[in-house]
């Protein structure tokens, strides 16, 4: 998957370098070499520049901070899910395991071993992270830029945040939680074509469906103004209640 915005960014650095001579001392040798390659490619007007900074397709998995959803980690790393990920061209899996580090380490090692054995095909990197102090913004941006997908527990906070990046989202309700409404919410959201609902016992079908879902999903949040207005905005409801007119 090609990333147009970072391509332009790198290209502009490259052009800058061409005009102004060698890089500043702060730039490391490797990045200087990268810039040289970019320059070279630009000179010949080839498409190599784009392929050079090609970025892998990222799948980000988040399991919830408070009560880690270990079966989701396990299910995500089983052979059928891994195969489905390879099938849709994912190159990087990043799993936020929260406090369930042991579960992650165990299943990630098994999955990596399997991938090594079948090394003839495309490969997949599996990484883990515990928490992020700055929210998950950075991870969502990575997914967005690489045209990847997010697999998440069905907590409403993560759903509301992830959907604002307009990315393919698979939510997986945790059936072990009693008296919680994750299942209902996931069903309703899937029906409205905002996201896909995944089954923790078999994630492969949802992963396969996620390919191409981004193109057909509905915009979230729904449009509240203009010609294609779908709902009232909360600001409009407040105004209405107090009698403010536009």
């Amino acid at each position: 998957m090609v990333v147009p915005c970072s391509a332009t960014f790198n290209a502009s650095i490259a052009i800058h370098f061409c005009i102004h001579g060698p890089p500043a001392p702060s730039i490391t040798t490797t990045s200087a070499q990268r810039l040289k390659t970019c320059c070279f490619n630009l000179k010949f007007g080839t498409l190599h520049l784009l392929t050079y900074i090609e970025m892998g397709k990222v799948c980000f998995v988040t399991t919830g901070a408070t009560a880690p959803f270990t079966t989701l980690i396990e299910s995500m790393l089983n052979p059928s899910s891994i195969d489905a990920l390879l099938e849709i061209g994912v190159t990087d899996v990043l799993i936020q395991y929260g406090t369930a580090r042991e579960t992650f380490d165990k299943y990630a090692e098994t999955a990596r071993e399997k991938l090594r054995q079948a090394s003839h095909g495309p490969t997949l990197s599996i990484e883990g992270m515990a928490f992020s102090n700055h929210g998950l913004h950075e991870q969502f941006v990575r997914v967005q830029e690489s045209g990847g997908l997010v697999v998440s527990h069905a907590g409403s906070g993560t759903i509301l945040e992830a959907l604002r990046f307009h990315i393919s989202l698979i939510v997986v309700p945790n059936k072990q939680l009693l008296d919680n409404h994750q299942e209902e919410l996931a069903d309703a959201m899937e029906k409205s074509r905002y996201l896909l609902k995944g089954d923790v016992t078999d994630l492969a079908p949802a992963i396969q469906r996620s390919e191409g879902f981004r193109a057909e999903m509905n915009q979230f949040p729904p449009t509240t103004s203009g010609k294609h207005r779908e709902t009232k905005s909360f600001a409009a409801i407040m105004d209405e209640t107090l009698g403010f007119l536009d």
Partner: protein, 253 residues
């Protein structure tokens, strides 16, 4: 010979009569209060008549949803904001300050000179019920929280021209603390304290969580009957809640 007050004034039947009179009066008053919500549309309010809004931040997911709801807030109309957070909920306070900073940045960006009101206050209210608090002590802590709600609702607004003006709007989306504030606001209107009811102050809007698709939360069931607007975000909840008032407007967060 002088007579002492007739002894029958203190009989049980007299007390019962007094009690039932008071009860009837209270019910009538409540009826007037609640029916005025559905029958009287708000008077048109010019933009220059700036409003004060009190926002209850419930904690965690409730706080998150509240700020999604408030993303289109116009500070030219809602010039004064009061936030209520539960004691010990540092997260909500931080979020409120961050939100105010974005509002400030937006105002600076516009620079049309009429931005005005950057006034906000963060109030702290004792929790109605702590997590894992035994159920039998809940009434005590809830009462303490209820009593503490009045100074907040009656607090003076800084910088506003009418410093003793009550909030025009109360926004709540659960859980416990929000219920307490809604009831306290209703009580002020019941007794028309500081002309709360006659000046149409303290209008209450309750928004049910986006995560509720088919059944209402406990807080929603507790306040649904008495709030001015009871908003639900999924069609399946339309017409649910006290007096069948669940109003469906689509997803608002």
């Amino acid at each position: 010979m002088t007579t002492s007050p007739p002894s029958h004034t203190l009989t049980l039947s007299f007390l019962l009569a007094l009690l039932s009179t008071l009860l009837t009066a209270a019910l009538l008053r409540l009826h007037t209060l609640l029916s005025s919500q559905s029958h009287n549309p708000p008077k048109t309010r010019p933009k220059t008549n700036q409003a004060r809004v009190l926002i209850v931040l419930g904690s965690g997911g409730h706080t998150h949803e509240m700020f999604y709801l408030l993303r289109g807030l116009d500070t030219r109309k809602y010039a004064t904001r009061d936030y209520v957070v539960s004691s010990g909920d540092a997260f909500s306070g931080v979020r409120a300050r961050e939100f105010e900073e974005t509002l400030q940045a937006k105002r600076n960006g516009e620079e049309d000179g009429e931005g005005g009101g950057g006034d906000y206050t963060i109030h702290s209210l004792p929790r109605a019920r702590r997590i894992h608090q035994p159920l039998y002590t809940t009434p005590v802590s809830a009462l303490r929280s209820f009593v503490a709600a009045f100074p907040i609702l009656l607090s003076r607004s800084p910088g506003s021209s009418a410093a003793d003006a009550l909030p025009d709007l109360v926004l709540a989306n659960g859980p416990g603390t929000a219920v307490i504030l809604v009831y306290a606001a209703l009580l002020l209107r019941f007794f028309d304290i500081r002309r709360a009811e006659s000046e149409r102050k303290l209008r209450i809007v309750y928004v049910e969580s986006f995560a509720r698709v088919r059944t209402l939360s406990l807080s929603a069931r507790l306040v649904g009957w008495c709030v001015d607007r009871f908003l639900v975000q999924w069609e399946g909840l339309e017409g649910k809640g006290g007096r069948g008032r669940g109003e469906f407007c689509g997803i608002l967060v």
